[in-house]
């Protein structure tokens, strides 16, 4: 589900139906429609094939929903299972913010910091799969910013604990030519002043150098929820 403000959330329960059972073990899922822009529904063929080619399933959904049918068929030619993906537009007049399409949604636990290179490899493959060379050399700005934000959320927001998790989401607006990243963690938050950090830079020993680096490399940067939510954007094609 994608809400206005471009926050992605996953359904709290439910799973793709398996077609060969006569009776489905289904549960009702009540979703408040307020601020809701899109609902994505997919069979497990989507996530299985995305995992097979090492990308996030939302990137595969994006291509399947935006490419012409012939191209989309070629994309999933090697898929071992049928794929059905639907995007329900709930808001009939989505705002510019609502025009952001989800590309990546992942949940990382605090004790997974050592796997950051693996996560980064998935982000890179996913972005290139969805947008081609749309970010150009700024792909590496994107990767550095995401890396810093996720490590920060795992270490400071989740205290490196396997019992705590942060969410990482990437969205793309074809209208605005912009990639938006949002990282949310369950921590206590922090006070971060980019100007103050830049003044400290001659010493370069500040623990929040990572946040200052993000603020500098991206085009737009904001912090919400007392520092527990980090949002930044990079324009494509620049």
């Amino acid at each position: 589900m994608v809400r206005s403000g471009s926050a992605i959330s996953a359904a709290t329960h439910g799973s793709p139906p398996l077609g060969w059972f006569d009776v489905l073990d289904a549960e009702d899922l009540v979703v408040p429609l307020a601020d809701l822009n899109w609902i994505y529904l997919a069979t497990d063929g989507l996530s299985d094939f995305a995992a097979q080619i090492g990308i996030d399933s939302l990137c595969l959904a994006y291509r399947l929903l935006t490419d012409s049918p012939g191209v989309a068929d070629d994309l999933v030619a090697g898929a071992p299972d049928d794929i059905l993906v639907m995007r329900l537009e709930v808001d009939s007049q989505p705002s510019q913010k609502g025009s952001f399409q989800p590309l990546i949604y992942e949940v990382y636990h605090g004790d997974e910091v050592d796997r950051i290179d693996d996560f980064q490899a998935v982000w890179r493959r996913s972005l290139q799969f969805a947008l081609g060379d749309g970010l150009g050399s700024r792909l590496y700005d994107f990767l550095v910013c995401c890396r810093e934000a996720v490590i920060n959320a795992m270490v400071h927001g989740c205290d490196c604990s396997g019992g705590k998790a942060c969410t990482f989401q990437v969205l793309f607006s074809p209208v605005l030519n912009c990639v938006r990243v949002r990282v949310d963690d369950p921590g206590k938050g922090h006070r971060f002043d980019p100007k103050e950090r830049l003044e400290q830079l001659p010493n370069l020993d500040g623990q929040h150098l990572g946040l200052a680096l993000i603020e500098n490399l991206c085009d737009r940067f904001s912090i919400e929820n007392n520092g527990c939510s980090l949002i930044f954007e990079l324009s494509t094609g620049s």
Binding site: S137, V144, E148, L201, P202, L204, L213, L217
Partner: protein, 114 residues
């Protein structure tokens, strides 16, 4: 991977880090470079070139590691240069003012140096 070459005639030690300089490997890189300097202890060296031309990314831990190397070289009164080829790395160096602390040679692949 870290490799080194010494030009005794020019009294220049060139150390090359292959690939990105990121949190997951920065400490190992720093250890390998310290070992190289230790190996050349007593050798007449006046210039130190850090070759990062294959790095496409340097994160905050990598920047701190590089700054530590620059300080290390400054303490030994070495003339230090850092060679880079990635615009993203160049932006990180400019932001962190590393390019004010040391001579940075930025030559994007297929373009003239700045």
């Amino acid at each position: 991977m870290v490799t080194a070459s010494l030009n005794a005639q020019r009294r220049t030690l060139r150390i090359k880090i292959k690939g990105d300089v990121l949190s997951t490997h920065a400490e190992a890189h720093a250890g390998a470079i310290t070992e190289i300097f230790e190996h050349h202890k007593g050798t007449d060296i006046s210039k130190f070139i850090l070759d990062l031309r294959t790095a496409r990314m340097v994160d905050s831990v990598g920047l701190n590691m590089i700054l530590g190397l620059v300080r290390f070289a400054n303490e030994r009164r070495l003339t230090t240069k850092i060679a880079i080829a990635s615009p993203a790395v160049h932006r990180g160096f400019q932001f962190s003012r590393l390019n004010k602390a040391v001579e940075v040679i930025f030559k994007e692949r297929g373009r003239r140096g700045t």
